[in-house]
């Protein structure tokens, strides 16, 4: 109710409505952006810019629908643009990407479980880096933000087929990169080709039926 009222206020030009939305969604927006752009300061900027865009585009938002999926799509799209540009022009090594060194672990877990969880986080973090930004964004939307494929597609998002294609490619790559430490879902083996990184090798004549 509070969120809907805030949106209505914003639609009327009352910037106080935006303050409510900022306080409610800022942290999650920053974290989703961080998974994609992989830099604390850039994630902060993406989150803040997303609120500015939401303010500018609030007239296009259907107040009868939930605000969060619509807003998170702005966050994710912005983060993808930033990540694309950043990765096209520089390497993470040069940019000083933040390595996940000191992570909090569950104090209730034993040392063995803690070590395994830390290793798992490290692998997921590194695997995410190797995905193209659009696939990384699809993983973040689906598995971090918990958005359905329909939600990912709605409101100016990519067509459902494209969403499925990105998720499919991301799951394949993740499964391969994680070497089954985290197998996301059973992915049908429709093609031999499986490319975690680098150039997909070409197929040769003799393997074709």
């Amino acid at each position: 109710v509070e969120e809907r009222a805030a949106v209505e206020r914003l639609k009327r030009g009352d910037i106080g409505g935006l303050e409510v939305l900022v306080r409610k969604h800022h942290t999650r927006a920053g974290r989703a952006a961080y998974l994609i752009v992989r830099d604390h300061a850039l994630a902060e900027d993406v989150a803040q810019s997303a609120f500015v865009r939401a303010y500018e585009q609030i007239d296009q938002f259907d107040a009868g629908r939930p605000f969060r999926p619509w807003f998170m799509k702005i966050v994710v799209n912005s983060a993808v643009e930033v990540a694309r540009r950043r990765e096209r022009t520089t390497s993470y090594e040069k940019a000083g990407v933040e390595a996940p060194m000191a992570w909090l672990v569950d104090p209730a877990a034993g040392p063995h479980e803690q070590a395994e969880e830390a290793e798992q986080r490290r692998r997921v973090w590194e695997a995410l880096e190797k995905l193209p930004p659009v696939q990384r964004a699809a993983v973040v939307q689906r598995y971090y933000l918990g958005m359905s494929e329909v939600e990912m597609s709605e409101g100016g998002g990519a067509p459902p087929g494209t969403i499925k294609s990105r998720l499919y490619a991301a799951r394949r790559s993740l499964s391969k990169l994680l070497h089954a430490h985290v197998r996301v879902e059973d992915v049908p083996e429709t093609r031999e080709r499986s490319v975690p990184t680098g150039v997909p090798p070409p197929r040769f004549k003799e393997e074709r039926p």
Binding site: I15, L18, V22, R23, H26, T27, R31, L35, A41, L42, A43, E44, D45, A47, Q48, S49, F51, Y55, N77, E81, R86, E87, R88, T89, T90, W103, E117, Q120, V124, W125, L128, K130, L131, P133, V134, V139, Y143, G161, T162, K164, S165, A169, L174, H179, A180, V184, E185, E189, E192, R193, V195, T197, G198, V199, P200, P201, R203, F204, K205, E206
Partner: protein
């Protein structure tokens, strides 16, 4: 599967929680960005101002100036570049013809800038055929600069320019149009947005296996490599059709308009199809009790391939060979010291991109064999599961004919 998905979600959540807001209250900063007014009583420290400036620099790709002087210098550079490019001859034109630094060759995915590779063969530029065809529509010019074809691959280089002077280009968020390059080797390609495609009279379905873009102040260079799955007959002339849809790319900021993009731009051109000679090596090396044979090398200047065969150490695993990467040539972003993914050829053989030119005395090293359980049956304790690895190395040396 549910358990595995939960583990991924948990790991993502924990990764994300490493991010904490810069300040306990982000509202004043956002309000300032929305209204341009500083909230009453807010003190902006020098550190924050400096940090914000730093972040602005981070946002901008290196090609985008951050200051008025920078833009002035950039404008001068563009004038010089354009003058050179459009001159009938000259060093700039020649430089551009020979390729865009950092984008030549066969990267994996335009979204992953790290996928852009160096060209494996230094002589590749000499093998390109100059095309220089131009198409113009709705204020955007697309030029097909060059093309190359051999029995296995087709490669093209093109660039786009905006001819109009929309307000955007005079503001801080200029918009470029770039060729839409998509990896169509994974998933359902019919569901992808319009992307750069090549066809010929054979009707075969070419795969986009590499490419990349390089953004400049007012032009975008792009290269793409296509795999011809059924091969192409070598000959002096082969006709291709290239379709180039565009996508919008803002140089600064994150705004993307929903306006229609011009195109697709269609180019019909002919180039010779060069042979991609096969070097029969047939050399066997044994290590760790396992014999691996380098049967042959396919010497395509775009993507040289090594074809390796071996008897699997056991039947319970699917064993893949991984080549040791060559740091001099490896630009695929691999930090593991191994090259690109192997491609299965039948039951015993694999094809692997070499990532380097085949010339003179050339060596290929298999770093290790990796075995994954067959049939997709993962161990119940997936957390501690490790694929089996048998480390070599198996090193093959051979002489490439001139």
């Amino acid at each position: 599967v549910t358990e595995q998905r939960k583990r991924l979600e948990k790991a993502l959540r924990e990764c994300a929680e490493r991010w904490v807001p810069e300040t306990a209250d982000p509202w004043p900063a956002i309000r300032e960005r929305v209204t341009g007014e500083r909230t009453s009583g807010e003190q902006v420290s020098e550190e924050r101002v400096a940090d914000r400036a730093h972040r602005r620099r981070d946002w901008s790709p290196p090609l985008v100036p951050n200051t008025a002087l920078g833009w002035l210098l950039a404008a001068l550079s563009v004038l010089i570049l354009c003058a050179g490019v459009y001159a009938a001859s000259g060093p700039f034109r020649e430089l551009f013809r020979q390729g865009l630094p950092g984008t030549i060759g066969a990267g994996y995915d335009k979204d992953a800038g790290r996928g852009l590779s160096t060209q494996p063969n230094e002589n590749f530029s000499a093998l390109k055929t100059e095309i220089d065809q131009t198409r113009t529509q709705d204020g955007v010019r697309v030029t097909l600069d060059w093309a190359y074809a051999d029995e296995r691959f087709v490669a093209v280089g093109l660039h786009t320019q905006r001819l109009d002077a929309p307000p955007e280009t005079q503001q801080t968020d200029p918009i470029l149009f770039m060729p839409s390059l998509w990896d169509d080797t994974v998933g359902n390609e019919a569901e992808l947005p319009p992307y750069v495609k090549i066809t010929d009279a054979s009707g075969q379905d070419f795969d986009t296996v590499g490419g990349g873009t390089l953004l400049g102040p007012d032009r975008t260079g792009a290269e793409a490599v296509f795999d011809a799955p059924e091969g192409i007959e070598p000959g002096p002339e082969h006709r291709f059709r290239l379709e180039v849809p565009l996508e919008e790319e803002p140089l600064v900021g994150v705004k993307v308009s929903e306006r229609p993009k011009p195109g697709p731009f269609v180019f019909d051109f002919e180039v010779p199809v060069r042979p991609a000679p096969t070097i029969e090596v047939n050399r066997t090396v044994e290590a760790e009790g396992i014999e691996i044979t380098l049967e042959r090398v396919v010497d395509s200047p775009v993507l040289p391939q090594a074809v390796l065969c071996f008897e699997p150490p056991d039947d319970e695993h699917l064993w893949e060979p991984w080549l040791k990467s060559d740091p001099e040539y490896d630009r695929y972003g691999s930090t593991k010291g191994v090259g690109s993914a192997p491609q299965k050829l039948g039951e015993r053989c694999w094809s692997l991109p070499m990532g380097r030119a085949v010339e003179g005395r050339t060596s290929v090293t298999v770093a290790y064999l990796e075995g994954m359980p067959r049939g997709g049956d993962m161990p119940s304790d997936a957390n501690t599961f490790r694929p089996k690895r048998i480390h070599g190395p198996w090193t093959f040396e051979f002489e490439a004919p001139d």
